[in-house]
């Protein structure tokens, strides 16, 4: 299962959207236009986009506290996302969710959880629902390496495999949970090996290679859609920014500047893929056009967001209930 030409360009476009969205949002954050915690997905674009592109539009998804990339990867409109970051009424969650909870249901996202590991059972339930209702929807569940140690991971993967649910568990393994490395927190740092305990396949892939991510996920999706059950995909990736914007880590550095620089230089998923596309004969002009288009898109999103009004104080209880008493 390989990407066709359109998909390849779309992969490039969406990775770039994530990158530029984050960069612009961090700029807005530093200007105090965005409050709260801010976790950037920069560096992890390929793991996100490769997986999302392997889905159908009507497939479902859950994300994490590092939540900006997921909806963009799935194809969400950027304006409502940027407005959400600013806490505006025009935000995708009407300003109620914010940075860590960037769910766009119109592209199939049922939630992004600020609670680490909290979304894994929800994704499993979404796949369970598809299975019970007899529809062929697949659910893609993102989580980080740190989340693997939560009980929800264990309980969910067992149920998914037991009932052969159409779920793809995609671990964005960026090597760290805040300042704690995988080696310092996982007795078995080879996370894919955990799958065997649930009788399901587990694979490790290069998460900086959008093609590899797409292909592994597409295969998993086909398998899941055919009723053959879930899979655990560990995409090795790297976060280029600090855990959250502005975090100052005292004491001994938990990762070296050299390590970070090497990743930025040699393992930038966007630079890597740009080179691949050129190699495969895509013209520099085509790529430039995409780049400009993305820049435009982001500009518009920021404008929309800045112009969107703040929620009215009287509306503070809106959206609590479907069935108010």
């Amino acid at each position: 299962m390989q990407m066709n030409g359109d998909q390849q360009l779309e992969a490039y476009r969406r990775m770039l959207r994530i990158r530029r969205f984050e960069e612009e949002a961090m700029r807005q954050f530093s200007r105090n236009k965005i409050p709260g915690f801010f976790h950037s997905s920069v560096g992890q674009e390929a793991a996100i986009v490769g997986a999302c592109l392997a889905l159908r539009d009507d497939d479902a998804m859950t994300g994490t506290h590092r939540s900006h990339g997921h909806p963009i990867g799935k194809g969400a409109r950027l304006d409502a996302l940027m407005a959400e970051l600013m806490g505006k009424q025009g935000g995708i969650c009407k300003g109620r969710g914010g940075s860590m909870h960037f769910a766009d249901n119109s592209v199939g996202i049922i939630s992004e959880s600020g609670i680490v590991g909290g979304g894994i059972p929800l994704a499993t339930g979404c796949a369970f629902s598809a299975s019970v209702r007899g529809v062929d929807q697949v659910t893609l569940c993102f989580f980080g390496d740190g989340a693997v140690n939560e009980g929800t991971f264990h309980e969910s993967l067992n149920m998914a495999s037991l009932w052969k649910l159409p779920a793809i568990y995609l671990c964005e393994n960026n090597g760290y949970a805040i300042v704690t490395s995988v080696e310092q927190s996982h007795a078995q740092p080879d996370i894919a090996l955990r799958a065997a305990g649930y009788g399901m396949p587990g694979v490790t892939i290069d998460g900086q290679d959008v093609t590899a991510v797409f292909e592994a996920t597409a295969q998993a999706v086909a398998r899941a859609r055919a009723g053959e059950g879930p899979i655990l995909i560990v995409a090795n990736t790297y976060r280029f920014d600090e855990h959250n914007y502005g975090l100052l880590v005292p004491g001994q550095p938990y990762r070296s500047v050299a390590e970070i620089e090497a990743h930025k230089r040699d393992r930038d998923p966007i630079l890597l893929y740009r080179a691949v596309l050129l190699e495969e004969g895509v013209s520099e002009k085509t790529l430039r056009e995409i780049e400009e288009e993305v820049t435009e898109h982001i500009k518009k999103a920021v404008k929309f967001a800045l112009n969107s009004p703040m929620p009215e104080t009287e509306t503070f209880s809106d959206y609590m209930f479907n069935t108010p008493i």
Binding site: K94, H101, S106, S111, G151, T152, H154, E155, M159, F321
Partner: protein, 333 residues
């Protein structure tokens, strides 16, 4: 006692006698008949209700879960967001803590946090033991903990008819509803409407006895000794009004106020532990909103702030008894 066949054969609009636990099962049968999105999940639920639900609906609607309370609660929430309407049986209320992160951080919050993009129609059932020497790890009555959480509705009905009607409302509701069943009520018999469309709205208290002298609010299983006490008091010539909130969240404070307007005296009885329980909330609201109606202090009876002991000798007087309740009422006269 009627047979199952008779119960089903009964024409709409009539009543039939059944136990509290039969009424819960009956409510689920009717709602699962009505709406195929309603499914039941929990540990060993295939044998629940004498296996009736499993027999009728089979394993695509009735799911035995692995012992993973947090996980399957989250799974059910995800399913609720995505087109099903799960009833999650958490069994003993003491196990609810294992699912509390999912209930609170996800179920109660996600509709709000997504700006209304999703709905979470889900019911969480659990039962509270407060007799029979189950000991502290199986005898929790943790409904007060969930009272403080926005976005949840909580019911704890006390008669067969009420549990049927409110359970049906809970299943039809578009939001998360917690059902706390007092296991002491399971064997209680009562007349129950057979009409599958008779529901009781969430949020409405019921006056279980009318009276003039004192208002007694009884929460959940405390209704049993309360009614006994009221019977004894009636013989003494004391007229007590008994209010059963039935729904704990949101509480029907108006019903209590109306009664206090008449009596000026209020006693609240529950089996929850003493601190920050439903009685605290009712008393606090009355001390604010009905202060001028009150002629005497508000009295609260509850379990002490001590864990439930195993030994029957200690368990016996642990929860408010008929005598405790009668004495409290007399103190206010």
């Amino acid at each position: 006692m009627h047979t199952d066949a008779q119960k089903h054969a009964a024409p709409h609009g009539t009543d039939i006698q059944m136990t509290y636990v039969e009424a819960i099962v009956q409510a689920q049968i009717e709602e699962m008949d009505r709406d195929e999105r309603v499914i039941l999940m929990g540990e060993d639920v295939s044998i629940y209700g004498r296996g009736k639900l499993f027999e009728r609906f089979g394993k695509r609607r009735v799911w035995n879960m692995p012992i993973s309370e947090g996980g399957f609660t989250g799974l059910a929430i995800g399913a609720a967001i995505s087109g099903l309407r799960p009833i999650v049986d958490l069994s003993t209320a003491s196990f609810v803590y294992l699912a509390s992160d999912q209930i609170i951080n996800q179920a109660s919050k996600l509709r709000f946090m997504t700006g209304g993009q999703i709905d979470i129609p889900i019911v969480f059932r659990c039962f509270m033991y407060s007799a029979g020497s189950m000991a502290a790890q199986h005898a929790d009555r943790p409904y007060p903990l969930f009272m403080n959480v926005p976005g949840l509705k909580i019911i704890s009905p006390t008669s067969a008819a009420d549990i049927k009607g409110l359970m049906k409302s809970a299943i039809r509701d578009g939001d998360p509803v917690l059902v706390f069943e007092d296991a002491r009520l399971w064997s209680l018999e009562g007349d129950v409407p057979t009409d599958p469309d008779r529901v009781i709205p969430i949020g409405k208290a019921d006056v279980k006895r009318e009276g003039r002298d004192v208002t007694l609010v009884a929460i959940a299983g405390a209704i049993r000794p309360t009614i006994e006490a009221v019977d004894a008091l009636t013989e003494e010539g004391v007229s007590v009004e008994v209010i059963d909130p039935r729904t704990l969240k949101p509480l029907d404070h108006e019903a209590v106020k109306m009664s206090v307007a008449k009596t000026g005296r209020l006693v609240i009885v529950e089996n929850g532990h003493r601190v920050c329980n439903v009685g605290s909330e009712i008393a606090a609201v009355m001390a604010e909103e009905a202060f001028d109606l009150l002629r005497r202090p508000i009295l609260r009876l509850s379990a002490p702030d001590i864990h439930v002991p195993f030994s029957p000798a200690l368990e016996k007087g642990f929860f408010p008894t008929k005598d405790d309740i009668a004495a409290a009422v007399r103190r206010l006269l």
